[in-house]
């Protein structure tokens, strides 16, 4: 009999978070009383015990080299006893017990090129996805668009003067990796041409029946091309969802005519209005790298019009509901087109089924 092989170590899960919590948090875990936002990027949590925790938040591109991670570690060692965390929107936070270190830390972060802000009624980091950097499905580049937009919106990251917090999200295709469908402003990569098929490889690497079944509109049909079994797309039926491409490696939506759409008025929190989806504002803007000027100015316009008109605590979507969509389109100068009218499954639910109209057009 051979000896039993050394059992392979697997399924250990995540390390317990306890190891990574600073002592002030361990002491006051579950016993916080309230918080304050003394300046942009700093949240002070006051415990029942009277202890105060200072969290300093800095913007991050999320796509981080290990060099930068080591830099963050070094900064943490210097200012926050080595304790740091990342937020649900990919900002980095340093957790300080010593208020005296807050200002020096902020200075240091800025000096290294990491702006401090994103708290309260600000624009915080843009949640985003892989883009051309890494995903096969991307209709645009995530990081490039985010960088271009945030370069322009930085003042809103570093201040807290908006009517309410404003959340921007980016996704590079309809899969929408992130909460793009529920953001104040969503930037969404759009393919515009039905999938292209690599007939040469299809028979080899693609399950034809599965691919046919994957299409929600029945647009994928069997076909024989150059004597080999393959597929064809009924173009008028295709809604560009990409599902067939997700199951069949020989199909791709990527095309130089891809671009970007802009959506507005979604939210996630239950504060005041129930959570809601983002709605279409601009159906298409071109991919214009490296700076995507059309996208940047469209987003900036939305932010500025919102900032000028919304009331305090009114998220983008709440503001639009108050003034009505006709006025939103007028104020932002965006054209209302056929594309804005839903035509998918529950389309009829979005029609205006009352005469509640603010000053109807002549």
């Amino acid at each position: 009999m051979c000896p039993a092989p050394a059992k392979r170590k697997t399924d250990i899960g995540a390390p317990h978070y306890d190891k990574f919590l600073p002592p002030i948090i361990k002491r006051n875990y579950g016993n916080w009383r309230h918080h304050e936002l003394p300046r942009p990027g700093v949240v002070v949590h006051v415990a029942e015990s009277g202890d105060k925790l200072y969290s300093v938040r800095a913007g991050s591109p999320r796509l981080l080299s290990i060099e930068t991670l080591r830099l963050f570690a070094a900064i943490a060692d210097e200012f926050s006893d080595g304790y740091l965390r990342f937020t649900s929107r990919n900002n980095v936070e340093f957790l300080l017990a010593d208020p005296a270190k807050v200002d020096p830390l902020i200075a240091r972060l800025k000096q290294e090129g990491y702006p401090v802000g994103g708290t309260g009624a600000s624009i915080t980091n843009i949640v985003h996805t892989q883009g051309w950097v890494h995903c096969n499905s991307a209709a645009s580049d995530a990081s490039g668009v985010v960088k271009s937009v945030m370069d322009e919106l930085l003042p809103y990251f570093e201040s807290m003067t908006l009517p309410a917090r404003l959340r921007i999200a980016f996704a590079c295709c309809l899969n929408m990796c992130g909460a793009v469908h529920c953001s104040d402003i969503s930037i969404l990569g759009m393919h515009r041409r039905p999938p292209k098929i690599n007939h040469a490889t299809l028979a080899k690497n693609c399950e034809i029946p599965t691919t046919i079944a994957s299409c929600p509109t029945g647009a994928v049909r069997p076909a024989t091309v150059d004597g080999k079994p393959s597929l064809e797309i009924i173009e008028e039926q295709c809604v560009l969802c990409g599902n067939c491409c997700a199951v069949c490696p020989s199909m791709s939506l990527n095309d130089p005519g891809d671009g970007i759409s802009i959506w507005v008025g979604g939210k996630v929190s239950n504060a005041r209005r129930e959570p809601m989806f983002s709605k279409l504002a601009i159906p298409y803007l071109p991919n214009n790298p490296p700076r995507w000027p059309e996208v940047v100015s469209a987003v900036k316009n939305l932010v500025e019009v919102y900032a000028a008109h919304a009331r305090r605590f009114e998220r983008m979507g709440e503001w639009i509901e108050r003034i009505g969509w006709p006025r939103f389109f007028k104020l932002t100068g965006i054209e209302f087109t056929k594309h804005h009218i839903d035509d998918f499954r529950h389309a009829g639910e979005s029609f205006k089924r009352s005469v509640h109209l603010r000053r109807p057009p002549a």
Partner: protein, 394 residues
């Protein structure tokens, strides 16, 4: 006529303060048809089930609609209720009558039918309930002589109907009765000869109170509204405030759906840019407030009950249309809808379902209207945009 059978269950419904339909049946029971109808109905009350059969084809020469054939399963037992057809008759707009014309109608129906009526059917027609096939032409002839004509049934336009509007109501933003009369006369052919994929109903209300329930049950709803500011009579406001019958802050201002009213205890403020023209404040203070002076109507499309894909409320098609005779814009729009739906609608597909199937955007394009944000509660939330092929080229 079969011998008079006892109807103990129905007799029970003669008692009580609300006017009794059983009394109505008995008043007409000198007609053998109604006598047998009582028997049939008593049977239904006994066995908790209806006994009418699916309609058959009954009608008037040259017309495809207006009569609903109705036959009974219990014909052997109740032969005089074996045939009990319905005759639908265009009502005068607003349902106004004189005693004379009522008597004329009663006389015709006494001569040729059961003597039972509905004043009115749910669509708005005058209904004569209970004709034999053999009498249909005679009823029709006499009605025509009296100035009346048949309503719609099957895949016809149905008799348009409307609220009493300017005849009596201070809020009518256009003349609903004039419009309804005009449409009824203009579209006689569509009313009488089935030419649509399914039924089509037009209803007109003079203001957003919608007293004819158009939005819920008309394929085309025409609902009065205004563009300018609500008219305010400051003296009357003061009287309301003093009168104490209404709490202006709680009952009016706090209930404004647009949140666009203010009240400082003395005067009312309305942000008319934000007002959604719901009528509430006007309803609550009819002496003090009134719709603006720049009046017209919102035209909505596609309302219907449940069958088949679920009920639909009408949705905005033209946010604001001035409503003046000869109503050419409106008629052109109606014809464009009928043409498109007529060509592409499926059998038994109401226009509201048709629009959902082909997409409102496509529908607008086909009938030649521009998309407007007033047509939607909100723009699309799903990203399945159908770019035109040309848009997809870089």
């Amino acid at each position: 006529m079969t011998e008079k059978k006892p109807t103990p269950l129905l007799d029970n419904l003669e008692a009580g303060p609300w006017p009794s339909f059983v009394k109505e049946l008995k008043k007409s029971a000198k007609s053998p048809m109604v006598q047998d109808l009582l028997g049939v109905l008593e049977r239904s009350y006994e066995d908790k089930m209806g006994h009418w059969k699916h309609g058959g084809l009954v009608g008037v020469r040259g017309y495809g609609g207006g009569v609903i054939g109705r036959y009974n399963e219990l014909a052997r037992e109740f032969p005089d209720a074996a045939e009990f057809h319905t005759v639908r008759i265009n009502q005068p707009a607003g349902w106004f009558y004189t005693s004379d014309v009522i008597r004329t109608l009663c006389d015709i129906w006494e001569r040729h039918g059961s003597g039972l009526t509905n004043f009115h059917g749910a669509t708005g027609d005058i209904i004569f309930l209970g004709a034999r096939t053999s009498e249909i032409e005679a009823v029709f002839g006499e009605l025509i002589e009296a100035g009346f004509d048949l309503g719609g049934s099957g895949s016809c336009l149905r008799t348009p109907s409307c609220c009493c509007g300017m005849a009596r109501c201070e809020w009518a933003c256009y003349d609903t009765m004039a419009l309804t009369y005009d449409l009824t006369q203009t579209f006689q052919d569509e009313l009488h000869r089935p030419s649509f994929p399914y039924k089509f109903k037009i209803k007109s209300s003079g203001c957003p109170n919608d007293c004819v329930a158009a939005i819920a049950r008309a394929d085309l709803s025409i609902i009065g509204t205004w563009r300018d500011d609500i008219q305010v009579d400051r003296t009357a406001v003061t009287q309301y405030a003093a009168g104490g019958q209404i709490d202006i802050a709680a009952d009016v201002v706090a209930r404004c759906p647009a949140g666009c009213m203010t009240w400082d205890g003395r005067s009312i403020g309305i942000d008319n840019e934000s007002c959604v023209r719901c009528m509430h404040c006007i309803n609550a203070m009819p002496k003090a407030l009134a719709p603006g002076k720049d009046r017209g109507a919102t035209v909505l499309v596609g309302g219907k009950a449940t069958i088949l894909g679920g009920a639909l409320l009408s949705s905005v098609l033209v946010p604001f249309l001035r409503m003046e005779p000869p109503y050419d814009d409106l008629k052109e729009l109606i014809r464009a809808i009928w043409d498109l739906w007529g060509d592409h609608g499926k059998n038994r597909e109401r226009v509201g379902e048709f629009i959902q199937r082909i997409g409102l955007g496509n529908f607008l394009e086909q009938i030649g209207l521009d998309p407007q944000p007033e047509m939607v509660a909100q723009p699309r939330t799903n990203p399945y945009i159908s770019y035109e092929p040309k848009e997809g080229r870089p």
